[in-house]
Symmetry: C2
């Protein structure tokens, strides 16, 4: 059976990227590799829309966020962290562990933090040294308006603006320099269409200045070490060579398509996905939908395990389950990275096949037809 992956990381890896990584190994201090890393460094600037350094670390996205915390702050530094899902929760835990002084801003799952919320928090905590928030929260499929948040924070505070862009970079518009962001982190297995194993970390001048004086201990995840090597287009430790070579290939694909077109494609596909699900009688989970992943409520009376079994074993489709309180209640369809219109048709078609098989009532063809209308009649025009 043909298998199709619709999970928000790992995401599908294009054939040319896989084959590029299957080339004979080269040494990371060889001129051949350093030429590749130099190009990757340049192309990552394009991806983040920045003139600032974007560091390549060999770790997951979580490791990338940790690298920023342990490299920019000192013990006792107050960090505000927004918790609107599994990943926001993680940054709260992490900040508590490292600086020992974290203000948690809880946001209901499926809703997004608003600029006014952060302004209120900053007024209450004028000594905050950093604010962490998530651009696209994977667990809830919810997007935050990073531009508005960054503007609000900068107008009311000198706190470093730290964006978890792990599931957003390459899916949502992001203008690192123009929007005045200080830190943005992503992972390779997301919009970059790569296997997991790399974190990419963009740093503003202010972030770099903070790194120079920060006092938390760090070694492997030290951005001070990484910045020093970056100047020579090198890395402080043996990097994941084959993954960086694959990244070179996927960045070429993004450049060829054009980053604004990539963002628009994600907006278009996510809108069609939502439309298709709603046409099948499924309610959307988020009131601020991410362009990377669409969570939907399971229809009344549909049991997750039976539904997923048919979807996966008979239709070859892997989607993501709901997490924590929403396990068994929602599921999440990803359209992050290497997807096109016909992929959306396929996943909605597979939902129809699955609902039919488990005898859940719906109008056959209504989902896929809504998807086609979304694309062809521009009812969800972007």
């Amino acid at each position: 059976m043909k298998k199709r992956l619709f999970t928000p990381g790992p995401t599908p890896v294009p054939e040319q990227v896989m084959l590029r990584m299957a080339q004979p190994m080269i040494h990371h201090r060889n001129p051949e590799f350093m030429e590749i890393l130099t190009r990757v460094h340049e192309d990552l600037k394009y991806l983040f829309q920045t003139k600032q350094p974007v560091l390549v670390l060999t770790c997951s996205g979580t490791g990338g966020v940790e690298a920023t915390m342990v490299s920019m702050f000192s013990p006792g530094d107050k960090v505000i962290a927004v918790n609107g899902g599994k990943f926001g929760e993680r940054w709260v835990d992490m900040a508590r562990k490292y600086t020992g002084n974290c203000v948690e801003l809880k946001v209901e799952w499926g809703t997004s933090i608003q600029p006014d919320d952060i302004i209120a928090a900053l007024k209450q905590h004028p000594d905050a040294k950093g604010v962490y928030f998530t651009h696209s929260e994977t667990s809830t499929g919810t997007a935050t308006d990073v531009r508005a948040m960054a503007k609000a924070i900068r107008e009311h505070s000198d706190a470093l603006i730290c964006v978890d862009g792990i599931t957003a970079v390459g899916a949502h518009e992001l203008r690192f320099d123009e929007w005045g962001i200080d830190v943005c982190v992503t992972g390779s297995q997301k919009g970059l269409m790569m296997p997991p194993g790399l974190a990419l970390v963009a740093l503003s001048e202010r972030a770099i200045k903070a790194i120079e004086t920060a006092k938390l201990p760090s070694y492997y995840l030290s951005l001070k070490k990484a910045l020093k090597s970056y100047k020579d287009n090198d890395t402080p430790f043996t990097p994941a060579v084959s993954l960086i070579i694959g990244l070179d290939e996927s960045l070429q694909m993004i450049k060829a398509e054009g980053i604004e077109n990539v963002w628009k494609r994600h907006q278009r596909l996510s809108a069609a996905c939502r439309t298709g699900c709603e046409a099948l009688g499924m309610r959307l989970f988020s009131n601020s939908p991410s362009f990377a992943v669409t969570p939907v409520w399971l229809p009344e009376g549909v049991e997750w395990k039976a539904f997923n079994k048919v979807l996966k074993l008979e239709n070859g489709i892997t989607v993501a389950a709901g997490q924590d309180a929403y396990a068994g209640k929602i599921f999440r369809i990803s359209h992050l990275g290497f997807y096109d219109e016909l992929d959306m048709l396929a996943v909605i078609g597979a939902l129809e096949m699955t609902l039919k098989k488990i005898n859940h009532p719906f109008e056959v063809g209504s989902g896929v037809s809504a998807v086609m209308k979304a694309f062809l009649e521009e009812s969800v025009a972007v």
Copy 2:
């Protein structure tokens, strides 16, 4: 030109491993991947000769060693670290940074620490909580007798015995359980014949107990988190899926050859490499040679840059340069991982071609002939 890599990490990756990694991406919480990770966990036990857990982390070997330090110790804990080269130096730096209490045991480059040295240090520092030392120091091509060291440490101390096996695992005999080791770390791009990006960490019962009560903060590199996920053949953060799938393949190759045969092959190839170099009039650098990498002094009057240029650009061979005080004075030939007898013939043959081209006097054929004798007349029988 055909290129051949003789560097001690990254090392060559077998074709079947590269192609296995070039398969369509799967999700790390899929049963298909969990089956692979379960098998990898089992096979890593065989590699380390242990019944204990061997954790798979997405980071370099350095990240793996850091994981053990931040997970097993508390602030102020005294750690003895042996520094006999670039990597030993790193563990000293790291222990100073994290526990703030490191006793450095300096050993001259090219020589190995002896059990008596560590016994003396332990008598002077009976409060030491851990001892870090390197099985095969890459910068000096020098091996340490881990079995004897472990015995000496255990007879005189309760300190955790922590082995940097990064360049040794798969090249040197290692019996984790039998020798009473507490921690052993390796990296994927070494004896495991894989691209870089994974660290593998074996932990004794004593190490696991230490992890339960340790107080240094950790998150991404927390072995407490990793151990918790390990029980379910899972990982706490998105792992480098494609690399773990490749590791599954390379571990099958090691099992098929048999770990004792793998060790013997490395001993045989390293002996032949040393014999070949000496036959060409090159002096060996180490007085306790590693089976993973052979450092040799450049012959009198031979300039490194000119030599390496011919070796690399005309003969396609990449070796490793000398480091620090030995830059331009020695070079290092690796035979770690996916190498056989004919590869040793090739690298010594390339040295002959290179010496000829730069007009350095030697007897043509003496190097390769010494290699053949080493293999066929068992003058270096193992």
